[in-house]
Amino acid sequence: MKKDKPDPNSVKGISRRNFLKGFGITTVGAAVFESGQATKNLKAAGLLNVSDSIPIEGAKMILYVNSKEYSVHIKPKETLAEVLREKLELTGTKTGCERGSCGACTVLIDDNPVNSCMFLAVDAVGKQITTIEGVASDENLHILQNEFIENDALQCGFCTPGMIMSSLAIIKKNPAPDDEYIRKNLSGNLCRCGTYPKVFQAVIKAAKG
């Protein structure tokens, strides 16, 4: 038996730690809390770098969204959904329940679908975030988007961005997903219009290419 210990924090070869230092939390906020409790705690913890904490009022950080860098001020308590929608104006990501139950806010973080409403934006620093706005390349729709349209895998469309993000994760992980795999991996996305059967069709067709 052997150790199964991949590096979950690597972002295309850059370890998250370096990435964080290099591009992530800048020292803009440093002056603000240099003398504060945060720093005392950090020093006590043997951490020298202020980039290892974020004060209540937040700090400027780099988010890497849809292959673009965004410099944005983030408070620790802000969720990724909030920051995407309110600060980056990426309103394609919806929130339907604010509790990770409906999946409307699904984005990919390093290719894994997550509920951006239940994910702190600061935790996304240094990671690759893909939102619905980043699925098509230039003017070309992704095959999944095409299949969603061709198969009418949408009605009111409010759940659609989340549904597509989960579907994208499916076809990235599994080139030939079967019905059961698709259903299981879409089980975090609610569609009140009841469009699921056509979503399944669209995913199967998109996976086939």
Binding site: K3, K5, S53, I54, K75, S101, N112, M118, K184, G188
Partner: protein, 329 residues
């Protein structure tokens, strides 16, 4: 609305330990924590993020099965050694919540999450577990509540799918305190309401759950796991069972451990039944006898008596499965 907090990103558990101060909380995946913060059930001055600590994120199968507390539920579900040596654990992991949550939620978070009782989770109810005077569930809407351990002022069910299986596997927890790394048996980890009403487990404030170990001899035994949900897409179980055990060369049950989930405030061991089964011939008739006599000590509430019937089915099916028999129920 979440109250503002400071955020720390330690790289090592020792740093995290030091960073913990009076009104701090650790966060791993943060699913449970964010839920509580958003509902204003809790608020903290500082939150210490453990998810950047690499040493919490490992699955080690060298001698025993050792899983870091920071391993995501999805990683447990996908781990091939776990699928091979401990199918109940991967099955349970793969059925927790949604794929989205499994990607983020961790083993430690799953084991230590607060109750999912709807009274506890709502700011509108000042319930006993939140320090209030009454348990609203006992005389209220208790369809999803406990049938055991519910007579001491709180009727929630332990929500951890991982705990059900790991309790059956007699797992041990390694916990980092300021003084040492201590080991607690998972079977001793959780408090019944009679022991403590506002605290669910023995992980004290500021301590860090490092890992969970299942000893080698508890792997490679027969596994049965079943989770019943009302709705198949993302739902909390209404009943859950894990049976780990064996059949000896004489065809008798040997070393069986049975744990129920969604039955009590703690993973509920069926110790009496385990004893009855020891050395018992594994036939449907004997299994039936054990099942018939079980659950007489349950204390169903007004709306959850159905759980007894449900658990009987699961117990019967599980024991048949361990014995390699076809279930007639």
């Amino acid at each position: 609305m979440i109250k503002d907090f400071e955020y720390y990103l330690p790289k090592a558990t020792e740093q995290a330990l030091t960073l913990f101060s009076k009104n701090s909380a650790y966060k791993a995946g943060g699913i449970d924590l964010l839920d509580l913060l958003k509902e204003n059930i809790v608020s903290y001055d500082s939150i210490i993020n453990l998810s950047g600590i690499d040493s919490l994120d490992f699955i080690d199968t060298e001698i025993d099965l050792k899983i870091g507390a920071g391993v995501s539920i999805q990683k447990i579900a996908d781990s091939q050694p776990i699928q091979k040596y401990c199918p109940a654990l991967s099955e349970s992991a793969s059925e927790i919540a949604t794929p989205h949550i499994r990607n983020i939620a961790t083993l430690g978070g799953n084991l230590c999450q607060k109750p999912r009782c709807w009274y506890f989770r709502s700011k509108d109810f000042d319930c006993s577990r939140k320090g209030g005077k009454v348990c609203f569930a006992i005389d209220g809407e208790n369809k999803y509540h406990s049938i055991y351990g519910n007579q001491d002022g709180c009727a929630f069910v332990n929500p951890s799918g991982m705990a059900t299986v790991l309790t059956a596997l007699n797992a041990r927890l390694q916990i980092l305190t300021k003084k040492e790394i201590k080991t607690i048996n998972l079977r001793d980890f959780y408090y019944l309401p009679a022991e403590k009403l506002t605290c669910e487990h023995k992980l004290n404030d500021g301590e860090i759950l490092l890992s969970v170990t299942v000893e080698k001899e508890n792997l490679l035994r027969k596994n049965y796991y079943c989770k019943i949900k009302e709705k198949q897409s993302s739902d909390w179980p209404i009943a859950e069972i894990c049976i780990i055990g064996g059949i000896n060369s004489l065809g008798n049950f040997e070393n069986v451990s049975i744990v129920l989930g969604s039955a009590a405030p703690i993973p509920w061991r069926m110790i009496k039944e385990e004893k009855k089964l020891e050395g018992l011939q594994a036939t449907t008739k004997y299994i039936g006898n054990v099942v018939e006599s079980s659950f007489s000590d349950a204390n169903p509430l007004r709306d959850n008596a159905y759980k007894v019937k449900l658990f009987r089915t699961l117990l019967y099916r599980g024991l048949c499965s361990i014995a390699g028999l076809e279930s007639e129920r």
